[in-house]
Symmetry: C2
Subunit: 132 residues, 2 copies
């Protein structure tokens, strides 16, 4: 599988998780990496809340995400009127969701590690406000 | 250009129209025709309003749209919590937007003609509530 296909397959996993709740719709945005307008990888929502999600699946222990990627996610979310979230899936761990307030910036990027994601990230059920 | 490419190029035209307002975000949904969940072709929105749009570009004087396509648009819009709209672009005319209340059903489909679209359809600026 190409890197792109692998990325899309992780995004699909997340989309299924939203639909499986029976209360959330979710979808991939076409060409989110290549179109000239700000965008997000995934949109999810219901009548009460809507999320714009930038997704990263990561093999190593840490990942640097260019600051521009975060800025365009925030710009998109502002215009579309939804909550911006970064979702990170380290190999063999669950999806973690990080709000914009909890991002740790270096000069040109945001750094996410397997360590800081545990203190800064929310799990899927926490993001959608479902506690069983 | 294939039929699919032509369809996408019309959808892109509509997406540009939304962004050009400076107040609306718009995007295509990936694989809207092929995924197993209800969907729409285009999403457009701002902080106040959000639309799920099924798009049709039509060569002839009329078009029949399967009732299932409309039903799944409505189902999607209900779960995602947005307004469902049908947007039709007859050759050499502007985009017209038809609300679900104004659709004319036959037994298995919705019929749109160049005649009824003029009485039942709204133009782009009317849909977004912009009157200059």
């Amino acid at each position: 599988m190409s890197l792109k296909s692998k990325g899309i397959s992780y995004e699909r996993e997340l989309i299924h998780m939203f639909w499986k709740t029976g209360e959330w719709a979710a979808m991939r945005v076409a060409g989110s990496g290549s179109i000239k307008y700000p965008s997000a990888d995934i949109l999810a929502g219901n009548a009460l809340r809507k999320l714009a999600i930038e997704c990263k699946s990561v093999k190593n222990e840490s990942v640097y995400i260019p600051k521009e990627d975060i800025e365009q996610l925030q710009e998109f979310a502002k215009i579309y009127g939804v909550e911006p979230w970064l979702a990170v899936r380290f190999h063999d761990t669950q999806w973690h969701f990080i709000s914009m307030d909890n991002l740790q910036f270096t000069k040109n990027s945001v750094v996410i590690t397997t360590d800081n994601i545990k203190t800064k990230g929310l799990l899927f059920n926490e993001v959608i406000g479902k506690f069983e």
